[in-house]
């Protein structure tokens, strides 16, 4: 089997953990597998480098930031090669130039375009473990680029796709994907399987152990992902296209507290008002989530929506700037202290009444729903942040997620 394994920064933070990882690689190697390993920078190394850069130039160019940050993963792969060598396992480390990891030109947030697999295949044929620097690529100017948040996951999935690997294992500090955050829901249970789409919904809800881009890419190229623990040998969660037929309606419950609601009250009731509002926000890269439009008094209309709490100030400032121009309205209301609670499940598509069952669970424990949003495989409600734990447990229990 050809296996791509990805370990994050905490898994290679010190000598002991490096050897832990090396021994896990050794085990699979000795079974005769071909192994490609993607590593992130050690522990807090990336943060340290960012701090050094900020200290020198708070507005450092992204091109030079990428040049700086890419050293972090190179240190990791070189040290891991040495650790494997110490265990008697032949290994070779490769950076983005050596792999030929071609990306788009955008510094600090590039996308992988193409991977030359010749070098990796040659090294695998020589029975070497191939260690590849995660998070980085090279653009058409022959400059380093980095892939942004979750970049190493994407590197691993892209390599698995390019090499037609049998699976891509993402090692994390949790055992896999859970039906709910175990810190909030005591009875939460690890899932053995989940679909790409469910994983995407969960990731975008902030519950994700995997970055969205890596899941999207895995789905596109049919890469079988496995999320598993770097600490113990629990089997983990397999992410794939279709999961077994007896699957429950709902795979999991997720919460996202980083949420605020904005209500734009008394907008002129004219065509294009909503377009103008969300266009202004989009230009400032503000993502809007649940949207609700209602008729206001005196022939006006009100539009409410949620944004990430981090984006709240900029969103309000953007609207205020246009109140005298294209966005005439009576007032802009803001509500903090709210949270989204969602249920996700591929089974919903072919089943009615799932949303109603969720609302019933919330009603039973006296939680008021402020807004509702749904997709084919997800139902999201906005509630008071204070009620999140109660709501999650009620919903989790209602769908018997702990008993499957």
């Amino acid at each position: 089997m050809l296996i791509v394994k990805k370990f994050g920064g905490t898994s290679v933070a010190d000598k002991e953990r490096i050897f832990n990882v090396a021994r896990r690689i050794e085990e699979d190697y000795k079974k005769g597998n071909e192994i490609v390993v993607v590593l992130s920078a050690m522990g807090k190394q990336t943060d340290i480098l960012i701090q050094m850069a900020k200290d020198i130039n708070p507005n450092a160019s992204k091109r030079e930031m990428d040049m700086l940050l890419t050293t972090g993963e190179q240190v990791s792969v070189a040290l891991m090669a040495m650790a494997l060598d110490a265990l008697g396992i032949p290994a070779v480390s490769l950076n983005a130039f050596q792999v030929a990891m071609h990306t788009t030109s955008v510094y600090s947030n590039a996308r992988i375009k193409r991977i030359d697999t010749d070098r990796i295949r040659n090294e695998l044929q020589n029975r070497r473990v191939v260690l590849v620097t995660g998070f980085q690529g090279v653009n058409k100017f022959d400059d380093y680029t980095t892939l942004g948040r979750g970049g190493s996951d994407t590197t691993a999935v892209a390599l698995a796709a390019a090499l037609h690997a049998d699976k891509c294992e993402i090692y994390t500090d949790v055992d896999g994907v859970y039906t709910a955050d175990p810190r909030m829901v005591k009875t939460a249970r690890k899932l053995n399987e989940i679909t790409y789409d469910e994983m995407l919904e969960l990731a975008s809800l902030g519950a994700g152990v995997l970055h969205n881009r890596s899941v999207e890419m895995a789905k596109k190229y049919g890469v079988q992902l496995v999320v598993r623990s770097s600490i113990n040998k629990t089997e983990g969660t397999v992410v794939k296209e279709v999961v077994n037929m007896e699957k429950m309606l709902v795979s999991g419950v997720a919460a996202d507290k980083n949420t605020a609601r904005i209500a734009v009250v008394g907008l002129e009731d004219q065509p294009g008002v909503a377009f103008k509002l969300f266009n202004h926000l989009a230009r400032h890269n503000i993502n809007v989530d649940i949207i609700l439009q209602s008729v206001g008094r005196d022939g006006t209309k009100d539009i409410s929506f949620t944004v990430k709490e981090d984006d709240l100030d900029e969103a309000v400032a953007t609207i205020e700037r246009h109140r005298q121009g294209s966005l005439k309205c009576q007032k802009v209301d803001v509500e903090k202290g709210v949270a989204k609670v969602s249920i996700v499940g591929a089974g919903m598509m072919s089943n009615t009444g799932v949303a109603a069952k969720m609302f019933e669970a919330l009603y039973d424990v006296g939680v008021n729903i402020k807004m509702i949003s749904t997709s084919e495989i997800r139902v999201t409600v906005l509630i008071d942040e204070a009620h999140v734990e109660k709501a999650m447990n009620a919903v989790h229990e209602k769908f018997l997620l702990s008993q499957m």
Copy 2:
């Protein structure tokens, strides 16, 4: 003018020093010069990386060591680019892959073979300061290599040669090349000029602020070297082919305390004995310096020579291994606590009596000479280590080096 500047690790050890260097670059840039800067890793970064590697695998492969160490210079050039940017000076950092710094295949001690100058020339044409990682290259396997001790000096000279630079400035923590080590000889004076050959002799005597390889390369390609201070703006010492005609006989006095003498006594007086002795040592990479052969008793001969004190044990062990075979002798004597004192000067070639004048100076202060060795532009004597300072001052005074 196209100027290549090289700054060592201490010059970029922290934010303050990085900006010091950046401001010096700024000054020359604003005069309209094209500037290429070669940097070493920050402060003790290379030592820190070596220690990390040793901790993981004391016998780490050189290939992976080079992969690890090359990150150090990449951090330096990226941070320097940010510092220059903060001063409003456009700059771009390049590593060995981006420059295309082709070297031989030998890891940890590669030689530069060829430099593609296209990228650098393009960047210079766009009026950018080009920052290049010192000490590193890429071999035919597309792997990182490093150039060994003094590698960044060599990178700078090689770039100056390839780009036909007008000069190559090596910045150090001293003002230039002195007539003697100022810590030992109070009246030592900075030289304005020195020839490549004199510099080579001084470097090999352990007095060098420049590594031999870089001086050899500068001589071969006619690169004008300038050794100058990274701290102040003193003019420094120019190293070139021919220096001005009124030059004194002797340019400087140097001492090397890292010396030991070995005497192989009572060797058979047969052809090839000396060859065998030094051939055995050469095979163990032991450099031999002053050699003296004399007739011993009973038709035998004695051979004395000096080695670096660091190599002493291995040299003796090597000889002992062959005493029963090809190197029959009566005994092997070892003398530690000795030192070499040398005078160097291109003027010697056309002047007689220089050596005699040195011996007179030593006689005047009662220093006994144990061995003598000469080259066209150098006279070296072996004396007791305890007398080094006295000897140096006497010789320095004799040649009036402080008064030129």
